[in-house]
Symmetry: C2
Subunit: 197 residues, 2 copies
């Protein structure tokens, strides 16, 4: 679900190409554009002084991202970079608001979108606070699985251990150790270093 492309272009949106690892916007920058991904993907994350990173979200083709600060004249709480070569549509803030005013259905769509994001974030903080590494990882796996739609079968987790670490606030080595333990207790399968859950 997203804003219709023709509509975006009609209102003056521009598609911009990004190389892998380019910064789309940086933390503490003021939000001036609505971004929607045409193709590629984007990661929003924070890093602390020791280089530890926390992934706030990953977005791919069709997704908009970085909207909340737009609505409230705030700065971005995290940095966004492309994780593949990507094409991203940018629409200026005032045009974006005009579209919202013009199309109530789009406004309603954003209401639902934001509600989903809050819900997801609430669940995330709940699990992170739960402390135990295995819990955090399982929570992350569940949320990925739910999002992917294949909640019943065992699926391949397309993340590196480092990425899982960044999502859960743990360290790579901890993630690795938890996974090998989870393998022993049959909570995950590991085939050829790939994780199935």
């Amino acid at each position: 679900m997203q804003i219709d492309l023709d509509l975006l272009y009609t209102w003056g949106a521009v598609a911009k190409k990004y190389k892998k690892n380019e910064i789309v916007f940086d933390e503490d920058e003021i939000a001036n554009f609505y971004y929607q991904i045409l193709d590629g993907s984007v990661r929003m994350f924070n890093s602390n002084d020791e280089g530890k990173e926390f992934t706030q979200g990953i977005f791919s083709a069709g997704d908009g991202f970085g909207e909340p600060p737009l609505f409230i004249n705030e700065t971005y709480p995290a940095k966004a970079i492309t994780i593949q070569d990507s094409t991203i549509i940018k629409l200026s803030k005032d045009k974006f608001f005009k579209i919202l005013d013009e199309y109530p259905s789009i406004q309603k769509y954003f209401l639902i979108l934001l509600a989903q994001k809050i819900h997801a974030k609430a669940r995330t903080s709940k699990e992170i606070i739960n402390q135990k590494p295995e819990f955090r990882i399982i929570a992350f796996l569940n949320s990925y699985k739910k999002k992917s739609g294949h909640s019943s079968e065992k699926i391949l987790i397309p993340y590196t251990r480092q990425e899982v670490a960044n999502h859960t606030g743990l360290r790579v080595e901890t993630v690795i150790r938890v996974f090998t333990k989870m393998k022993e207790t049959n909570k995950v399968e590991i085939i050829n270093h790939k994780i199935y859950y």
Copy 2:
């Protein structure tokens, strides 16, 4: 900011009295009502098996709470209990949606409200991941201070150490030790056990 009271009553909302520590809704319950506080306050939080709690939010007179699941037909991600005797207005889900459809300005208000909540939650997770207890606590103090409006002067923090612990995912003893250390480094003042920041 809130939905106008007369409007709520016109649409069939009912004010209900709660004693201190009553459950307003429980985790994993389906959302069926819009809640807005007339007077008193409410805490939304999660607990894990070891009894450790994490406060998702505290709401007081004038605030609505628990809206996100309402928009997406989801269950509550946390439990809500009153922390004082309170009066809370309840409006059924369908009436709530009718109001939204009827009044675009209210819809827009919710858009902004949700955007604020996401923003706040994004900042919270960022700080929690940052790990170091002192950082987490400072982040919490800052967010309280910002919300309170008195960002410049030194203000009294109206929370017990246990409450600070619940907000930061730490243990009481850790919070106490951090505060005494912060006192020594002049980051907070402690007068008569009360914390000023």
